[in-house]
Symmetry: C2
Amino acid sequence: MESVWAVVLSLVYSLVAHFICYQAIKNFKDMFIKAGMFGKDLNKTSEEKIPEGLGVVSGAMFLISCFLFIPIPFLDYSELQFTQFICALLSICCMIFLGFADDVLDLRWRHKLFLPTIASLPLLAVYFVSGGSTTIIVPIPLRPLLGYDLHLGVLVYIYMGMLAVFCTNAINILAGVNGVETGQSVIIGTSIAVFNVIEIARDQFAAKHLFSLYLILPFIAVSLALLRHNWYPSKVFVGDTLCYFAGMTFAVVAILGSFSKTMLLFFIPQVFNFLYSVPQLFGIIPCPRHRLPKFDRATGLLGMSYAKFSPDQMGPGGAALLKTLSFLRLAKVEWSPPSGKEKKAEISVNNLTIINYLLKFIGPTHERTLTIYIMTVQVVGTIIAFSIRYGFVRFFYDVVQ
Amino acid sequence: MESVWAVVLSLVYSLVAHFICYQAIKNFKDMFIKAGMFGKDLNKTSEEKIPEGLGVVSGAMFLISCFLFIPIPFLDYSELQFTQFICALLSICCMIFLGFADDVLDLRWRHKLFLPTIASLPLLAVYFVSGGSTTIIVPIPLRPLLGYDLHLGVLVYIYMGMLAVFCTNAINILAGVNGVETGQSVIIGTSIAVFNVIEIARDQFAAKHLFSLYLILPFIAVSLALLRHNWYPSKVFVGDTLCYFAGMTFAVVAILGSFSKTMLLFFIPQVFNFLYSVPQLFGIIPCPRHRLPKFDRATGLLGMSYAKFSPDQMGPGGAALLKTLSFLRLAKVEWSPPSGKEKKAEISVNNLTIINYLLKFIGPTHERTLTIYIMTVQVVGTIIAFSIRYGFVRFFYDVVQ
């Protein structure tokens, strides 16, 4: 019964955090411009300076709200959960700090991969201290091969460390349209919260899901406040800070709540986007610096953006891959044969992102409409995730876990 | 016996952290200039851009070093100490983050007081969870009045919250000469480490002092690395980040190690500086925006800086105060009587900082020499502190605690 009150209080805290955060972003944004942290919106005709990196304000509000929440559910009850909560906050605080440093200093790629791993160390340590399992139950179809369970040992820790890196980058990669980073974070966060509530209602590991709720509710609250400023037309940009912050929060609740597989299901659009991007990310076909949709100044609409290159710029298997993509209608490919002496053969293919893929179907679109479409895809992803989690799971495991 | 190995390992970690930190500051400083984080050295003739806020690099190195150290002494032994260590790191991480945000965004005064209080909440929570005492032993001379012990309850938590704010601002206020912020941090840190080692040798609450050592050793290491860059002539400035970082680290080890009174003794020069500054801080006599010593371009030496104002700009009691200060040779005061119609009476008094007070005795001085003098004062402060702690304490308490 006490936990019901803790959840109610967490909701109240989150609501208050939401409104304060909304106001704080408004108050702080001029300070960002003054500090030289701003950018121009590439998808707008205006040259207005938009403050960049405001995710740090929502991150800070999240931390304040959680710090003030510490005494509510943890001090009286389990000391282990108190420790877990502190470790979770330490990892998240570290990532917000790191994200902000990245926004200010423009860190290099190797820092971006190395530092999130360091930031997740407290998390791994508390997982170890709390006797976290390093054994997994093997899915039914693989049992003839691997047996009923598998002791993974240190691999589990590597997996958890990589989870934070994956979540962070998955949200970062799907960006460039007003409201998309924040929007997907809010939807994934809400999906996690709904999942937590369902599991608590079913009385399945309720303590772990309560724990997740205490973190995810304020996260949703501050992200929504940010989204209200970041929605089309964006008054502020969120920066890398938001992606780091969101990614680590998701990783933390999934690891300490022991539902990382379900959490990954909420990333279906991001996983699709990643797989779809592989040919460009791994250099099979050339990858331009930006893969954002193309803004048409005349119509004010966003359309597909293309990579253009000559056939010899492709990696091995490039030609076959393009034919396959084209045949499966996964990409729009155009071959211009060489014309005369000057002009060499040129290939044009749409940049392989889920946003361009969407634009392939709906045609040039207003930016706000495009964001709504992407959010719809994300929600559909969540519905599929829940179907898998509560429907198809019986084909893989004996009991609904 | 294990703890000896843990200390040795902590030393090794700190040594490695020192060298990596030294190199990292070198590598990162151009990124700071590119991000617009730089300043000019007011005490130099050159117009060179000096990167500002490099304290954040040493802060980050400190966190990385501590994160990697978590498994060494804590996982196998006491879970409580593990929790304390994580809480300590959370508070420190929060302050580094905050300090960096301050350096980037130039926060307002109310944020500077409000946010450190929030950052110390995890610390207070773990103090509560670990059954921290809220009762103090009354010093002997006061016992007829107050009795043997005094239950302070929530006041203890307010005191601890204010300790972080005090330490942070005490280091921040004594600044403006190359190497002074970092130098005093290193000396105070080293004093704490020496105190810890003495207490461990005397077998007095060894676990608490070991705990403090694990945090203070890497702190000294990264601060020394910073000092090597920040020493005259400064290649980098440390920013507010260092003050927040150092202040919180001192507060954390003192609170969790239960030696906050001894720790405050190491701040004798800072306390003197604060008391001496009171007339200016509280507006009894006017306070200019900067109170740094004055750089003489011709000689290249630093001399006393003065506040100049007319008698009616003083607060109540100003005239009497100036007379007293002058009589006690605590300040150099000059009264210029009104001359003719245009010129009103003017008072000139040296800005009330310990640095100006030093300059009053030694006269105009080279910047490096001045830093060495200030460091000497700090070391003398530490010697006095130890005399009080191990000598005079018997007049106040029954046993040497």
